[in-house]
């Protein structure tokens, strides 16, 4: 007996509820954008500048006490959150304190950090500070810029690659699916106000990498089937390709999600946001490669005759292994 995520031969019509699924994606994207603009993102110090201090003590964290201790320092916006994690020991009480970038400071000020540590030690003398990180406003501005360049560059690179390997319609479909994944992830981060920092950008790019992987496998099969069944309806061929690869799509998502789940639960709080983003991204990425990318290609239409390599179309790689 084998474990099967999907039956042996599936014949699902993925376009049957195309309006519903595609519509749901569009609505989700619009909602995400709306949430993003309305609620904003909970930017970490990488993008905002400022200081985060991780505190650890054997006494339970009392956010009120911490706040009272720091009030006198006049640091502006201070956020204090207690951190919970299954990997912590019984005597391990952790909190994260975030201080905004202080007015008129290009770089970071060690005096502020020292003052904060002293004030907190006034509350709990045995408190330790496992990590202190400060980013000056000058760098944080550049980091935002680099991050945006990274995301755009990866989309551009994929657009070109798919275009060279397949056809431009495929690349539009693939990139649309990626934008969908990115927007939904940002939307969720905005909705749950999870800290958005450099690691999140790395997670976004990983999602892009994973989702494109998924999409390309289906496209690859689609190209093969388009050659095999020249006269069949495009929609039918697409359904066939998606059905044939469905088992693989779900297997890979399954193993990846399984591995990520272990990391999400047991990997510690430091990378939880990062792992959570990828976890969510794998789910939406799998969805988008089945329900978004193909629909876009179907809408634009695609070249049907793949038997003769067309010198002008720029698909010089397409007949290598097809």
């Amino acid at each position: 007996m084998r474990l099967r995520l999907v039956p042996q031969d599936t014949n699902i019509d993925f376009f049957k509820h195309a309006r519903l699924t595609f519509g749901a994606s569009v609505v989700a994207m619009v909602l995400s954008l709306g949430i993003w603009f309305a609620m904003g993102l909970n930017f970490g110090i990488d993008f905002l500048g400022g200081t985060t201090i991780r505190t650890e003590s054997s006494q339970p964290v009392d956010v009120g006490d911490y706040r009272a201790a720091l009030e006198a320092l006049n640091l502006g916006d201070v956020s204090i959150t207690e951190v919970f994690d299954p990997t912590f020991g019984p005597e391990q009480n952790v909190a994260m304190i975030r201080i905004q970038a202080q007015e008129g400071e290009e770089s970071v000020s060690p005096e502020t950090v020292a003052a904060v540590q002293e004030a907190l030690r006034g509350v709990y003398p045995a408190m330790t500070f496992p990590s202190v990180e400060s980013v000056g406003p000058k760098v944080s501005g550049e980091l935002i810029q680099t991050a945006m360049i990274a995301v755009l560059a990866s989309l551009g690179a994929i657009l070109v690659y798919i275009w060279l390997r397949f056809e431009w319609q495929f690349s539009v479909g693939a990139v649309a699916a990626l934008v969908h994944d990115i927007v939904l992830t940002i939307g969720l981060f905005s909705l749950l106000q999870i800290r958005f920092d450099l690691a999140t950008i790395a997670a976004l790019l990983t999602i892009v990498g994973y989702s494109i992987n998924d999409t390309v496998v289906i496209f690859d099969r689609l190209r093969e089937n388009l050659i095999k069944f020249k006269s069949r309806d495009l929609r039918e061929v697409m359904n066939l390709s998606a059905n044939e690869t469905l088992s693989r799509t779900l297997m890979t998502s399954g193993t990846t999600l399984l591995a990520l789940l272990a990391l999400l639960v047991l990997g510690g709080d430091v990378i939880r946001g990062f792992v959570f983003a990828i976890f969510w991204g794998v789910i939406v990425g799998t969805y988008s490669s089945i329900f978004v990318a193909k629909n876009i290609v179907l809408m634009i239409g695609v070249k049907r005759d793949w038997s003769k390599p067309d010198a002008k179309s720029g698909t010089q790689f397409s007949n290598i292994d097809a």
Binding site: I162, T255, G268
Partner: protein, 555 residues
Amino acid sequence: MLQIPLWNRLMIILVLLAGLSFAMPNLFYDRVERHNDAVAEIEGTGATNDALEAERGLWPEFLPSTLVNLGLDLRGGAHLLAEVQVADVYEARMDALWPEVRDALREVRDEVGTIRRQDAPAGELQVRISRPEGIAAAVAAVRELATPVVSLTGVGSPTLDVRGENDLIIVTLSEAEREATDTRTMQQSVEIVRRRVDEAGTREPTIQRQGRDRILIQVPGIGSAQELKDLIGTTARLTFHPVVRRAVDADATVESRQILLPSMDEEGVFYVLEQTPVVTGDDLVDSQPAFDQQTGQPSVTFRFNPAGARAFGNYTAANVGAPFAIVLDEEVISAPVIRQAITGGSGQITGNFNVETSTELAVLLRAGALPAEMVFLEERTIGPELGADSIAAGEIAALVAFAAVLVFMVLSYGLFGVFASLALILNVGLIFGVLSLIGATLTLPGIAGIVLTIGMAVDANVLVFERIREELKTAKGPARAIELGYSRALSAIVDANLTTFIIAVILFVLGSGPVRGFSVTLGIGIVTSVFTAIYVTRLFIVTWFDRRRPKSIEV
């Protein structure tokens, strides 16, 4: 049909063995690290002792001793991003140029009349002449001082821009010279930071130039970013100035080309000094902590190079009886009176030192002054306990992920799943082997990258297995199905992994620190997982198939 040539098999096995042997030392991380440290110390100092030999004996010499570097977030330590104020140097250059300009203009005194240096914006030298009609001659005379720029890009253009406005000569560094100067400033700064960090004897610091005027400094194992800043952040610029007079408040008026600096030890004492130093620390060749012969107080001795010794000798000979000030980073350490000409080129600084501070100052002076001030834009301290917790959590998560994926694969694909699982284990071994071999740094997101790879690595296998399943329905016999499965899945495997690889490259190029660590493991993971899926699993399957020759197979 279903065959792999012998040389091909050997290559695959060889790659696996090499990868695993480079990965193996990581299983004994602590022992190998102590062994490596001991070897480095023995080779570095040339001397050895029993303790070091014992440490070295912890790991046999004939085995590979490559280790994956642990990033700051795993080992703990400090990270600094410093911006070097390269424009500072322009100012110093202008100061150094002034005597030359003065001499050059004196030679054409008949045409330009008397000259006087004016206060000017930083990086500019302005000289007023008393006869405006001689401005052309003055500008020509100053231009003579410019030399061709020595750099790759600006060859041929002069080092100075000189222009005249009425009776004012304005001198600045030319664009090409500024660039060349910036490059030199950065090289010097990086070198000096490296020397200072090395003097402190920490393990594997990362010191690299970033962008136009930044230096990234990462030192594992150091207690805090503050400690690191104390070590490298001091400019340690030593200068000797003629003293004009003493003052008692910070608002004392000074004339042009004079500066008012506070005393380091005496509260409320200030000195008015001539701005142009007689000699600077640039001319120092050595500095040692010492004790003053008369008082027994800790002090610091120094020795000048010949040029410095000459300048210092000439000045002291001409100014016996006058005070001069020893200035460190804009503070007057002391202002002794010159008793006699100091011609030997060496001297001693006494001040309010204790043994520790005099040693520190000697180290700083010896390593050289930073050519320009550094401003810290980013600083991170990660405690070693947090790193250890992260490693522990990452290890557990990776093991659980591993086990879960293995079980899932075996349940789904039976025997073929076992093959894939074996390949997956080898795959993780290979990743560590490559990471150790290229000396890459493992960060916390890097561990996440490995776990993600564990999940995704099976993808190529899944593609092949699913394809074999399909081919079994139509193809003639299992051998043919396996072969077709591999050849037909290849295009999807290549496309899917290349796109992900592109992302890893972009992350590597644009990312920094932990994110870059993630891109490295992701990229390596893609390469090794394609290798194991296409070659290693196939080798298993083909070998098994050859032995058993099953009539039918179930995937």
